[in-house]
Each structure stands twice: as structure tokens, then as C-alpha cells.
Symmetry: C2
Subunit: 238 residues, 2 copies
């Protein structure tokens, strides 16, 4: 049974890394002591080692140990043998490209389908969707496909930003970008504001955190989904 | 001899479409009456027809007529026979994908190298660079490559946004994204603020408009280039 947290961000303004999520992570990872960390997204170009170290410090606060997948000779085996997974944020193109290069997409899907708990933040959440095509990141490397894990039957837009009526900048708003996405793609998109996350237990998906989420469906007016609301996927026609 | 304007945006806040550029467009297009418009980037998903109509209205103010490339049966021939080109903004992935599908990359490069005047705004400016990999757009379609026209020996980041010290949003700043780009790529990136544009005459490239531009080179501290400054490419080691 799937056991997943899909978080918009790792860090809230003024908070420590993963701090706001720790209580929920204790629950997600309650049956495991060690977590396999996938540092491929490399925020700010940070090395795999330094990124893993940072994650280790955060998880120490709830008594979990962390090992980076780059420390294993055979990353596929590492996935097969792990008890829990965390995929951190950074650049989604770099993350997906590295997962493809190491042939890890299918092994991760298999692990999660057999109940291995998974946390994704930002880029690590983007890849939970059907495709990475609603990422905010720059295409700094060229992956062999935009398809991702499809753990949830829609796409995520993390760090979702509302339209600011005072903004004089003429770049497209997030809402406009997602509308453009729907000219070429059919899947629902969930705009997850910072502090929001989805808690997935099997087929039950619940929105958690202080905010509502913005739901975009092709040819429909976007609407808000309240927090602590369960998305009954089959009923909601995602 | 190349004769190009590479503009950050088509429209300034509160202004009409292309209005702030009209004087410079009169100069760019002084020897031609009719402009071939490439509407492929489809901002907000607008149709090719409606986009072309909008562009026609703007160019009528300086006495030029506009025809959309989609109105031609053979787009490659249309490029070969045209007297001037304008590629408008929208989604860079959609634009590049459509240029590739219609095999137009090489014909456009050839036309421009023989002196056909070219205006690009936003997505139409991104494609003037070596690659589209410093676009701000969402990857809503999958192009066969990220390589672009290479009319200028660097990459463009249009709608460049400075870091806002008051911002509490935890998504990456533009500067961070470009720094991440340089972990995987070597080319210089020019952050063009809205209202800025590059005027290319042969090998001479001059920054125009009210703002300075921000120059990013791998492993260097970013710096500002003043407006009305000529980039002597060979001397500046782009």
C-alpha cells in the first residue's frame, strides 16, 4: 500500500530544513530507522555528499539515520533493499535525468507499491506526478523523457504562487503557465502552496498543511480544495 | 550581415503590445514593407490566427503588413522568400518543438545570415541564444533538442528578475537557477530586464533600453553591463 508525503517545499521561510514536517515524518517513517536519500536534484549545485549531510542533520532530530544513494555501488540494488526513501528538491530536469541514467524509475515505483514509505519535496514531489511538465525549473539538462513516477493520478506544481494584482512584471503568472500546459495535456494539476502537502495512504489522498490547494483541470475554471480534505480520486474524476 | 533585435518582452506594464519598441522597429525594418510572423509560441494558448491579428494591429502603426507563417502551405518556402521575420513570445518549448517539426531552424538561420531583419521577443529571444535552456517557461511539450538558433554566442534569460530581499517565497531565485545552469553548461547567460533589448548589427551587439543587464559566466561573480554598451564579443570572451 502506498505510503507517501508529497510536499510543496522542504523549508518554510525562517524555519530549518524539513522542520515544519518533522511530526508528520515521524508518523510516515514510524516503522523504519534508516532512510535512503536521493540527492540527485542538487539545489544550488550542491554536491551529493553535502546535500546528504544536510538531510542527515534534519533526520537526526527524529532519530533516523540517512544514507545517500550515491554512496552505493549499485543504486538499483540500494532501492531494492531500502526501507524508506526521501527525494529532495533542486532541479527537476537534473533529478529526472539522473534517475533515467541509473534506470531507477521502475525500481522506485516497485518499492513504493510494496509499501516503502516515500517523502518528496519540491522536485521530489514533481516526480510523483504523471509527468514533470508542470515544474518551475529551468531545463538545464535534457532528460530522455518528461514522464515520471505516476504515483498520483495528476501533476504537481510545487511552490505554487498566486497571481499578485500589484505585480508589474510581464512574465507569465503560474496560472497562465498551467493554462498553457492544458492546451497540450489533459491531466489535472494541483498547485501546492508552500507549507501544503499531500498525504497518500493507498488510494486515499489528503491535503494537509495550513493552506488550500488550487486545482486546475482542462477547460474548467480553477478552484480551491480545502486543507484536510480527502481527494477520493475515482469520485473526483482526476 | 545580421540585423536583429533581441527583446526581453513584447509589452511594458501599462503599455500596448510592442509600443515601447516601435521607434527601433521602424529602424530595424526600414527597408521592408511586409513581415513574416511566427506565432508558434502561442502565449496563453492563443490561436495562430488571433496572435497574428494582434501583431498586425501593432505593426500597422508603423505602416508594415504582417502575415503568419501558418497561412503558408510550405513554411520553409515562406522563410526562404520572406523580407523580414518576427518571432513572438509565449512558451519556448512549444515554439522550439514547432520549429523543429516544420524543419525551420536551419532556414531561419540562413535567412538571418543573409541579412533578413529579425525581431524576437521573450520566447522569440530565447531561441536567438545557443540553447533554450535558460528559459523561464514550463516544459509543456517535449522538443527533440534544446538547441536553438545560436545567432548570438551566449544564452538569454528574458524577463530577468532581481532577487527581492523581502520575498518570503522559497522557490529558487532567477540567479540561483542560472547558477545551477552553470553546473552543467558553459555558455554565458545575459539576464535581460523588461524594457531591455540587444541590437545586433553583424558581430556588434549593443545593449539598449533603460536598464543595465546582468551577465552570468561560469565560476564568476555576476556583474552588470550598462545600457548603450557595445559587447565586443571577441574581447569579452563570451
Amino acid at each position: 500500500m502506498k505510503n507517501i508525503i508529497v510536499a510543496s517545499t522542504s523549508t518554510l521561510f525562517g524555519g530549518d530544513y524539513l522542520e515544519y514536517l518533522l511530526e508528520d515524518l515521524e508518523e510516515l517513517y514510524k516503522d523504519v530507522n534508516d532512510i535512503l536519500f536521493i540527492p540527485y536534484a542538487r539545489p544550488d549545485g550542491i554536491s551529493h555528499d553535502l546535500y546528504t549531510e544536510k538531510v542527515g542533520v534534519a533526520f537526526k532530530r527524529i532519530g533516523k539515520s540517512v544514507k545517500g544513494i550515491h554512496e552505493f555501488k549499485h543504486p538499483k540494488e540500494a532501492i531494492k533493499n531500502c526501507h524508506a526513501i526521501f527525494v529532495g528538491g533542486g532541479n527537476t530536469f537534473v533529478l529526472v535525468n539522473e534517475l533515467q541514467t541509473n534506470n531507477l524509475i521502475e525500481p522506485i515505483k516497485t518499492a513504493i507499491s510494496t509499501g516503502v514509505p516515500y517523502l518528496g519535496t519540491s522536485a521530489g514531489s514533481n516526480i510523483c506526478g504523471i509527468s514533470m511538465q508542470t515544474t518551475n525549473d529551468m531545463p538545464i539538462v535534457y532528460p530522455t523523457s518528461f514522464d515520471t513516477l505516476g504515483l498520483i493520478p495528476f501533476n504537481i506544481n510545487p511552490h505554487y504562487l498566486d497571481i499578485d494584482p500589484k505585480n508589474k512584471h510581464m512574465g507569465e503568472s503560474r496560472e497562465t503557465r498551467i493554462k498553457e500546459f492544458h492546451h497540450f495535456n489533459n491531466q489535472t494539476v494541483i498547485g501546492l502552496r508552500e507549507g501544503s502537502f499531500l498525504r497518500v495512504n493507498g488510494d486515499i489522498i489528503m491535503l494537509k498543511g495550513p493552506h488550500s490547494a488550487r486545482i486546475f483541470r482542462p477547460d474548467k475554471t480553477p478552484y480551491e480544495l480545502k486543507t484536510n480534505h480527502i481527494l477520493k480520486v475515482s469520485n473526483e474524476r482526476f
